[in-house]
Symmetry: C2
Subunit: 689 residues, 2 copies
């Protein structure tokens, strides 16, 4: 598109962004003024001249996405959201007519309950696409959003409707993001997938918290990205708005690969004493320096939160008009599409609301009783496939472990997502767990049902991303297999021990460790329906018996997190055996022996602590009556946390160390996981009474 | 060095390595034969012609290091250790005259209690430099070892003794390592530091578990490493032993930067049906295919664990003689050094045993009582500096957070480690937490006392490396600051919640969260003395009162993990208040108010659960008498796990959600962390009695 020349009003807009950031940080007496001051020109050019974004419909499906990966520059984003007049939204992301960030909110920067927290939070503020702050994550989110655009265009695109999904993803990141491995992983995959809808702007300001980047960072970032398969453009002056516009135009009109724009900026631009130093990074400039800086900008020195005349109007004429027109044209296009492809249009509307199509669960299998059974990773693969074939927007993959995690979608037409086959639903993430997690967050924020799989041990590698999914309440699904010392010969480096406890300790995350194939089916039934709940599914490598549900309670009990699977006659047990996952069948076997001996025993299957804790006290007490203190908890994982259910006198059969390399049967014997040991401990518990 | 041409016996040696791997994996019916088969030639050339390593003194200080980052290829390493005749070691790493891996051990591959676990474990097997398996970690370990060599040479080198520390570090890695961000981070830093003693051999076999690497990995690895500042050499045929020798010679004689050798290999080389497919990666070839492969090698088809005549001798004549001579020359050189620089030689001997110099603790400060106090990150910085100036081989740094974590060594002569100043003790790791952890492991394996710091929240990013430190029982020290919602305005993305629980759940790790400056001093006193114990020190951002230790119990109680800090007259409390870190002073204040009201209260400071659990039952019961069930546990972190100390009726004041962005005082009020709330809950506890 031909662009008018930049004029004085553009300069005023840029300095408005800068001074709002300075003033807000100063008022909060906390925050990061330097990056917004350096990045204001590029952000202004991007928003006001390129971003296809309608401030009056901030969650319009085909909007361009903007991600601020260096989230500490949050005031940059808040200033833009304010000046562009982004409106609020309801719980369905429909626009409201109130502003997302009125000026009072900028003045409440970093205060309790404000919409302007220290780092951008997508739940807190309409117009914020993703929660950022932990460095590098936003780069991965942007890659995920770019994949989502390609997939939507690939899957739902039809002749004549090429513009239905043609949005771009723009992200800004800093030196810190560039040093973090999560961004490297995501960038490598983006290059592989030729995501030419992705534009990453690298704020090359040469400053980090420790000082100049040359202390620890002297690589050639541009060359590295070329090696990943990106196009690299350069703008050597952070105030060269025309140069930036030209670079963005190049990306916008002709990219065949993802584009990196290396932008040389000056942190804290304009501050006489702090520009180009790390003093501008993470603390207020101070009142005196702010005055001097405003003077340097030609700004009224004693002004505060000043938006000069014409500034709002310039945004209205820029992003407002352009975005509004684009959105209106799209609405019309979508109406045409709906007339021609009503089923597909309904799918799009359904997925945008994170709803499910009718019949999504019709093929979930019921597994017959089978003493030999199958690994939960196997039943997981079957259930996932049975659901995914009826929910087209389930997309996902593994970190190079498909043959092991069994999460490949095999049904006809599932396909693999590549540059040439963008409608494919299986994503090969490569050996990149952290990048996978950050990309999944981007997919979920685009309302695709995203899953990712790997060995449970490597949840550690991806934990930074996993936590952000939990912070954002987005329905990402992790399928982690090889969940215990059941890994066997691969040994302690591959046997998860503390991972269940460490994820149970994480707020907002639901961990589900199903005990047999039918609990697996129930676990997916729960998971797929979630709109705001990240879930970690934890599956075995080894085969588990499929319990006879005519004899034991239905697996639907899983929906409550924990349930009585088998009970003493009359429902008055003297001892309770509690197990999860692979240990459920072990305690069932112990229960059968105890029952045969005339002992009144109960089995509780406890696949999800989080769901169980959400039940009311009466239900929980009905499952685990406080009066029954003889208890045996069995889990092939760290004992940590089990005191909650064992109580002060109950027993915990669990791991107290790392595992070892050996066949599983030897490990189970060594670490005390056997029916005999459960019986022995149960009898000790009964003897205490 | 001039090399003789390769002959048939060399070929026999290579195929011996291959067939031992095939046979061992087959016997175990589990493991990874393909990578050893492809890598045998380069590993053979490296070990037998280049590695300065004396199999009879496997822990000789100046030995070259060999790291197998793709640890699943463990049988490659075990075959080499066996064939080279590496001997066993005692607990001081002195050589014994028994072999590390006699043939029986190869036959016990992946069996319980063997020295040949599924992935290499440095504690299990003499000759294994580091525990690998989780991909990418070995690359970081190698970078750490290379830094350690440079530092030893820089700090202890003296004119005429340039060869005292001139060893090299060689690492082999696979595609998976190359995709993992941890390796990217470490490689970027290695390039920055110009570690020309580091040679990384990339097994470019084009195969991953999912299939061919082109599924997810099409970047130009060589170009990427050039961008990091590495030299890149290429060997295009995995059987071109002469080409490999030439590349290794180039590295060995003339490298000015770290060197990457991109080596094209064929996974499962020689296997008629499985070579160059992922079927050769992670499962036995099968008896029939093994026969066919042996036939292709010209090997007796029905042989098993065959070592042909001459093979042991070739290793003895190669690595054995060369390494033995080099080690003997070094012993003489060290004797000369000791004569000329006795103090420095003693230091080297001391550090090699992970002992401490006399007087290491003489400057640890005692902090006077101070109601205003200081942040534990501040006292941490002071104590660290007070110890480090007396222990020259404490080296460490932060992931670009020195001004925040306060771990910079400021005393005269501490210096910064760079290519030009290799005696510097402060390492700028950059914004690379995972890389930092893997590098720290390498430093610790070289017997330097390594620490690394960052915000506690980002322990997540480095968790993969942190866990391997715990698996290896190496004395790495993490100093994590900003340990709770005390972070304040930076908000939920930066406020650790579940991190204490998730590290407490990790076997082998000791977590210490000191409650005031004098507990900080005790925490370091404990930590610095450890030889086999990784420690995570957790510090506040905000100021804490320094308790009056004439009034309360001495901070030395920290050494037991938990202790009675203040007690009811007569030592018979009715209620126990338990706190850690920043909450200790809060419960002390509550205790004072209760005591003034005539309530019999006790305060327990519980800085380390792990150390407390190591005490005998009598001690633990003396601190937390089981009969006293009225308890209030206070910690500004996830409640998860506190049932252990609260008991079934005690109260837990802790976090049940993520935090929020706001000034700390507002957060504390909102989340119930106040003396008033502690008093209220304590009174409720007492009322229950």
């Amino acid at each position: 598109m031909a662009q008018p020349a930049f004029d004085n009003l553009d300069g005023l807009c840029v300095n408005t962004i800068r001074t709002l950031a300075m003033d807000a940080v100063q008022k909060a007496n906390s925050g990061h003024p330097g990056a917004p001051m350096g990045l204001a020109p590029v952000a202004y050019v991007l928003w006001n001249r390129f971003l296809n974004y309608d401030p009056k419909f901030p969650y319009w499906t085909n909007r361009d996405r903007f991600v601020l990966s260096n989230g500490h520059a949050s005031m940059l984003l808040y200033s833009l959201v304010h000046l562009a007049g982004v409106v609020d939204r309801d719980e369905h992301n429909k626009p409201k007519d109130t502003p997302s960030l009125p000026m009072e909110q900028l003045k409440q920067f970093r205060q309790f309950g404000s919409r302007t927290p220290g780092h951008p939070e997508q739940e807190a503020t309409s117009g914020i696409e993703t929660t950022t702050g932990p460095l590098g994550q936003g780069v991965g989110n942007a890659v995920g959003m770019a994949i989502a655009q390609k997939w939507m265009a690939g899957y739902y695109g039809r002749p004549g409707f090429e513009k239905l999904f043609d949005h771009k993803v723009y992200a800004i990141c800093g030196d810190g993001c560039m040093m973090e491995g999560v961004a490297s992983e995501a960038a490598s995959l983006a290059g592989h997938l030729k995501l030419n809808n992705l534009c990453l702007i690298y704020d090359d300001n040469g400053i980090t918290i420790d000082g100049h980047t040359h202390l620890a960072f002297s690589e050639d970032v541009a060359k590295r990205f070329e090696a990943y398969g990106w196009d690299v453009l350069r703008v050597n002056d952070g105030n060269d708005t025309a140069g930036m516009a030209a670079a963005l135009e190049t990306f916008n009109s002709s990219a065949t690969k993802p584009t990196l724009i290396v932008l040389k900026t000056v942190i804290g631009y304009g501050s006489p004493h702090k520009a180009d130093t790390h003093a501008a990074h993470g603390e207020p400039l101070g009142p005196d320096e702010i005055k001097l800086t405003k003077k340097a900008y030609g700004w009224p020195e004693d002004s505060s939160f000043l938006v000069p005349d014409g500034v709002y109007g310039r945004f209205q004429d820029g992003i407002g008009k352009r975005g509004g027109a684009a959105r209106a044209a799209w609405d019309k296009l979508f109406a045409d599409y709906k007339a021609k492809h009503p089923d597909l249009a309904t799918q799009i509307e359904t997925l945008e609301q994170r709803d499910l199509p009718a019949g999504w669960d019709k093929d979930i299998p019921v597994f017959p009783a089978d003493p030999k059974g199958l690994a939960t990773r196997e039943s997981s693969g079957q259930v996932l496939n049975a659901i995914a074939k009826n929910v087209p927007w389930i997309v996902g993959g593994s970190a190079d472990l498909n043959p092991s995690t069994k999460t490949f979608m095999k049904f006809e037409g599932a396909g693999v997502f590549t540059a040439k086959t963008p409608a494919g639903r299986n994503i090969h993430f490569g050996v990149r767990e952290h990048g996978m997690g950050a990309i999944m967050n981007g997919l979920a924020l685009s309302n695709l049902k995203a899953y990712g799989s790997g060995f449970f041990i490597f949840s550690d590698y991806g934990r930074g991303a996993l936590r952000l999914g939990a912070v954002m309440h987005i329905p990402v699904v992790y399928v982690f297999t090889h969940d215990s010392i059941g890994v066997g010969e691969d040994g302690p480096t591959h046997q998860p021990i503390e991972h269940l406890a460490s994820l149970r300790a994480m707020p907002n995350m639901v961990v589900l460790r199903p005990g047999d194939a039918n609990e697996v089916a129930e676990a997916y039934r729960y998971t797929v329906q979630q709109k705001h709940q990240p879930v970690t599914l934890v599956m075995t490598r080894q085969a588990l018996p499929t319990l006879d549900r005519t004899k034991y309670a239905p697996a639907a009990g899983l929906q409550k997190g924990g349930y009585v699977l088998a009970d003493a006659a009359g429902g008055k047990p003297d001892v309770i055996l509690i197990g999860t996952g692979s240990e459920v069948s072990m305690v069932v076997e112990a229960y059968e022996k105890l029952t045969a001996e005339g002992v009144k025993a109960r089995v509780v299957s406890l696949p999800s602590w989080e769901l169980f804790e959400k039940q009311d006290q009466a239900y929980r007490d009905s499952v685990l009556p406080p009066a029954v203190t003889a208890r045996v908890c069995v889990e092939m994982a760290a004992a940590f946390g089990w005191e909650r259910y064992a109580g002060p006198t109950g027993a915990i059969i669990a791991m107290r160390s790392f595992g070892a390399s050996a066949p599983l049967k030897d490990l189970m014997k060594h670490f005390g996981f056997s029916v005999e040991n459960v019986l022995k401990v149960a009898r000790e518990q009964l003897a205490k009474k």
